[in-house]
Amino acid sequence: MQIPYILSAIVFLPILAGAVLLFLPPKNQQLIYRFALAVGLIAFLLSLAVYFNFAADGPRYQFVEKYDWLPALGISYHVGVDGITAPLVLLTGVVIFTGVIISQRIDERPREFFAFLFILASGVFGVFVSLDMFALFFFYEIAVFPMYLLIALWGWKQTREYAAMKLTLYLFIGSVIALVGALAMYFASGLQTFDMLALEGANFSAEFQNFWFPFVFFGFAVLGGIFPFHNWSPDGHVAAPTAVSMFHAGVLMKLGAFAALRVGIMLLPIGAQTHLPWIILLTLVNVVYGAFIAMVQTDFKYMIGFSSVSHMGLVTMGFATLNYNGYLGASVQMVSHGVMTALFFAVVGMVYDQAHTREIPKLGGLVRFMPFAAVAFIIGGLTSMGMPGFSGFIAEFPIFMGLWAGGYPLIAIIAVISIAVTAAYVMRAISRVFFGELPVELEGHMRDIQPSEKLALGLLCLIMIAIGVYPNIILPMVQSGVNAVLALLGGA
């Protein structure tokens, strides 16, 4: 069923709400929080409506809207979702909603906090639904910028300035380099349009594609955390306040991977076929190195940050296989990892709020105080190790199949082994933090999490289990999107 204007509503609701927020009375924190919660809820419901009204057997892009923006240069506001982006829109809706829920205790300038968070959300929604390359850049940079303020102002005092600046510069360098590539595509195509559906048929020469593909792909993949440009990401995740870490690791990194796919691989398929076979080695480094570094972390949040680097490596690795299973797995992994890592960061935030430490050795026995959070974390942990019955399995298994079938059995084996490493550090964290003895310093400081927080965690767990138990809730949709990508790659 097509719902008119729903994508525009999703894209513009948060940013308009952000503008309204800036004019609310700063002292009335209750009003600000309720307003933010209402906006988050509406965004979530709208994204649900998109997801469940997307017809997997329908046209490739649905809910399409197109208006001229700057016709002289062939720029239009052209939006629509396909089988890959509809789940990502839902992911964004879930994370913004749960992120707002658990930000109840922000008491330092909450008005600005939620305003910037919503501007960020608009940018993210905009990138996922844009079918125009210019619009994609427009929203991409809107999504990147507020991170600076969110981390620098509300982040962890010790590293926030450094981390915020590092993150912003990395991401902007990536995006402007990709921008030059995009402009080169615009002029080389001779089509006088930024519309990506038209540019898909531009038939760029092999030489052109081979030259520009690395610029565009890496420019965006920086935000996907690809090795060796992943360095900003753990620092950024750790320094960010909880809701921002959730949004950042959960959604923003997918933005990078998705844009690398949408602009890089889909518009420059020959370039992708030339370069991805060596890029897959970088993604392997992501997966293995990320997992090992996560294992040696004693800081709970750094551990999750590096696990994101590792899991995002699986996404780009899936893309690099250039075959059906790889893309299917990578697309599901984007959603699965998004939900899972949002949950991890939410739990870490709840633990830190009460214990005031994130050092894993200084924590212990928390299951007695916050059983719900402990169970949620365990579910997230099982997802991250790719346990059957959880969404991680549905995502990772096809990626490994794709690797094997794509002629990379050795890489498949190494990557599977790294899953064992993941299991090791996740188990270790669960046993140290939630079981064992409660350290004396924490006696009397711990209490259960609030019902609203339980709701947020429950929602995230529900998605992981739903996909794991009943994969058909997502697979037909993703299959339709993946088939369109493969058609562009020449059925490779």
């Binding site: 240069l73 940079e141 910028f145 300035e161 600046m165 380099i177 002029f187």
Partner: protein
């Protein structure tokens, strides 16, 4: 010489006529008013500029094809029209920002100088003849020298005025030498007959390139391009801040209008040569402006160096030497002018409260005055090229023009430079948002300042979101040159 004067000819110079009337009115009221009520002069000037703006938009719109008028002295085309509007808006905002500025508010002569300089600029943008060009450049510059040194009791202001005058005089002399050589080669002073005259005379390329370099020295000084930028930081810092705002926007824009017109109209025969010279100038200006801006502690000096870098970005459009290139340059100036005005507006408002331009004294501005800090955030982000603000579109367009003309290396240099720019803009915003305020008192904003700031910020947003109308203006300007 002019033949008979037709109504079209008068309508074409309606902005100038109207400004002259305002000059006369300001002069006379200055004499009539008592010392303490001369604050009204700013209001009269602002109203006069607003009326001129309205008259220009209603009556002085040119046809799609440019037309030479007044014996070939002026060309009534879209480039001139758009830049005239830009100068008028800049002068209007500047006037509003001067209100309450002690040494210049209440002084009729200041507003007369401002208006005269604006007349010079409107003529510069339309000049189609070497004589007219030189006269209009001088009409623009001489009042600016005085305005820069207007605070005669302030050493820095005096130094600024004097420095500006000396360097200005030297480079103008060099430029005039170039212009006279050009007349000798081509046998005409009209820009639009120049190319034919030069080719008929068979002037060797290197000689012509040498002449162009002399002329470019003059233009480069006006717009503060590296290596002719050295005056800008001292003058921008020393001049009264509203004058700095005017200098760094309208005066720069006027130089670019002339630059684009002269280069494209008169020198098609050595296109690749001047393109290379300008590309190098762009590369140097962007890089040096941004890198030196990194170390600045004074907000006016920071904006001065950043404006050198911005001239470099805009120069990408001229270096592209294409229709898209000129379009992007015009769009760049539309966006840059309002953005820079907003940024300086905040600087002026803050100066009234704390009497300092040191970046460190902006600490915690967001806690003292959240809305003022927001205005600063938006204007600095627009300078950095972040959507949905005007600076983003402007940057994309100039980079696109560079890529289109095969200057990919320059586009890459430009985007990397924009990262350096982002860094120091963020450093300032960090001070505004993150550092603890030394003083919790809010910064009061006078009503005219608030209005000017609001208009600037709205224009920054509109230029960044509604692209088509402005792009249409810019494209029409460019089309008139090709």
């Amino acid at each position: 010489m002019f033949g008979s004067v037709t109504p079209e000819m008068l309508l074409a110079i309606l902005p100038e006529i109207s400004l002259l009337v305002v000059v006369a009115v300001v002069f006379i009221t200055d004499l009539l008013l008592a010392e303490r009520s001369r604050g009204a002069l700013a209001g009269i000037t602002a109203a006069g500029l607003a009326v001129t703006l309205a008259l220009t938009i209603i009556f002085a719109v040119p046809g799609a094809e440019g037309e030479l008028m007044w014996g070939g002295m002026l060309r009534h085309d879209w480039l001139a029209f758009v830049f005239k509007l830009l100068f008028l808006v800049a002068a209007l905002l500047t006037t509003l920002f001067t209100i309450g500025w002690k040494p210049i508010w209440h002084k009729g002569e200041f507003y007369v100088l401002l208006l005269t300089s604006t007349i010079g600029m409107t003529l510069m943008a339309a000049s189609a003849d070497l004589i007219m060009l030189f006269l209009s450049i001088e009409t623009t510059s001489i009042p600016l020298y005085v305005m820069a040194g207007f605070m005669t009791r302030d050493d820095k202001s005096t130094e600024a005025g004097f420095k500006y005058l000396l360097f200005g005089a030297v480079t103008t002399g060099v430029m005039l030498y170039g212009l006279s050589l050009l007349y000798g080669f081509a046998g005409t002073t009209n820009l639009y007959e120049m190319a034919a005259g030069i080719s008929a005379a068979g002037i060797p390329g290197p000689v012509l390139v040498g002449t162009v370099v002399l002329i470019l020295l003059g233009f480069g000084f006006k717009v503060a391009l590296v290596p002719l930028h050295f005056w800008a930081p001292d003058v921008y810092e020393g001049a009264p801040t509203p004058v700095t705002a005017f200098l760094s926007t309208a005066s720069k824009a006027a130089g670019f209008a002339v630059l684009a017109r002269v280069m494209l109209a008169a020198f098609p025969s050595i296109l690749t040569d001047w393109q290379a010279i300008i590309a190098i100038g762009a590369a140097l200006s962007m890089t040096l402006g941004n890198v030196v801006a990194l170390t600045q502690r004074n907000i006016k000096r920071l904006l001065a160096y950043s404006s050198i870098a911005h001239a470099g970005y805009a120069l990408l459009g001229v270096a592209a030497a294409s229709e898209l290139g000129v379009t992007s340059m015009v769009y760049y100036f539309l966006a840059y002018t309002v953005t820079q005005m907003a940024a300086f507006g905040v600087v002026i408002i803050v100066w009234h409260k704390i009497g300092s331009d040191e970046i460190a004294d902006y600490a915690g501005l967001s806690r003292r005055s959240p809305m003022l800090a927001l205005a600063m955030l938006l204007s600095f982000l627009s300078l950095a090229g972040v959507p949905p603000l005007g600076g983003f579109i402007a940057k994309i367009l100039v980079f696109a023009a560079a890529v289109d003309s095969g200057l990919v290396w320059l586009a890459f240099l430009g985007v990397l430079n924009s990262i350096v720019g982002l860094y120091y803009y963020l450093i300032v915003l960090k001070v505004v948002y993150l550092s603890a305020p030394k003083d919790e008192q809010p910064v009061p904003v006078a009503r005219p300042h608030a209005a000017a700031l609001l208009v600037s910020i709205l224009l920054v947003l509109i230029l960044g979101i509604l692209l088509s109308p402005w792009y249409g203006w810019a494209a029409a300007s460019a089309a008139g040159l090709f």
